[in-house]
Symmetry: C3
């Protein structure tokens, strides 16, 4: 990596489908434009890089794993409402355009070497283990790694 | 524009009144301080630069246009709840301070030459055409234009 | 402060516990890594730097003060839902990890000389006075102060 490589670092905090979508669009676009791009998945954002497998060790952790089940295919409208629009409307929008795209966008990000970092602290809180994440996750790290990445980035966003 | 002009680029993703307000306050302040300021409106944020006209081509698109009708005057509390506060409380706050200000803030942004970019992809999904946007929108663009703007900006925010 | 001190500026807009938590984690980490770190508290984010005292002058302002009562200890799950998870689930997560940490994180931020700025405009709207804020708040300022801070920062985030 040369000295003048431009960098883009995005905190993927939200698990809402629209925001996950926006994050991946920006990340893949930045990567396609030659920027070294890092996505730091934390809290609800972790869902996008989870396998579609049960998580949790204790009773509550397992129930959380069921209610907030991971897997980018599962990110959908059932858990939110999009500003008052009916769920069916959103499903229609997703069917037309978005849902099919999220797994594709994930794969595009992988193909473009976008770096996937997972937040250790929120994984601990939510009882998500490394095994619950897709293999393409580059590392499980603390906030200091994110700050160091962001510090050297031309673009930093919290989504 | 000289080489050392400072730039500020804001993604206007949210359609919630409080966040739209925050975005315009930051944008107009940055522009007033001499920064070249760009607002990139996407998803629910598009509402702020829509005319108060019907949108949508198909049945569902038209219904979305009715439920999520655009126009900065229409951005209000009826579609959300502000952390549990009653709607009436928010209306009172708006009446005292904010609602009157949003159209003014939009006009101030226009007067200060804030650049308005609209996201082509979300316009397609939501069946919003260029004709549905106010005349002052500078361009309808893809994510690459946003990334290029953000890359050269001292301030980038996702709101 | 030397010329090459790195800076981090965060807009604390949200009053949701998870986002407040994320903001303080990033801020304290950046400060611990030697960055000059500023948190600009606005709208619902003000709650984190309020005392646990009543606010408001008029009837509505006082009612807002009761419904949206400040104090970092009071930031909890009762006002939101975390993507459909039951409240009890979130309480369990908080009990295990987070709630105990928020006041600690606030104190850590203070100990690390994180600069706390409060947004004058939103204080006016919400009828919150300087006396309602904790003593450690460094200043009550307008948006221009935030923009100037962010302009000179390597990291700027809107949370």
């Amino acid at each position: 990596m040369s000295e003048d490589t431009q960098k883009c670092t995005i905190v993927m905090f939200s698990g809402d489908m629209d925001k996950v979508f926006a994050g991946f669009i920006i990340a893949t676009t930045a990567a396609a434009m030659g920027m070294e791009t890092t996505m730091f998945f934390t809290f609800w954002g972790l869902k996008a890089i989870q396998k579609d497998t049960p998580t949790g060790k204790g009773l509550f952790g397992r129930m959380l794993g069921i209610m907030n089940r991971g897997g980018i295919d599962r990110i959908g409208p059932s858990r939110f409402n999009f500003g008052g629009m009916g769920r069916w409307m959103f499903k229609k929008m997703m069917k037309d355009q978005n849902v099919a795209l999220l797994p594709e966008l994930l794969q595009t990000a992988i193909d473009l070497d976008v770096k996937f970092l997972a937040c250790l602290m929120s994984m601990d809180v939510m009882e998500i283990s490394r095994d619950n994440l897709i293999d393409e996750v580059d590392d499980v790290v603390g906030a200091a790694t994110f700050v160091a990445e962001a510090q050297g980035s031309q673009i930093q966003l919290f989504i």
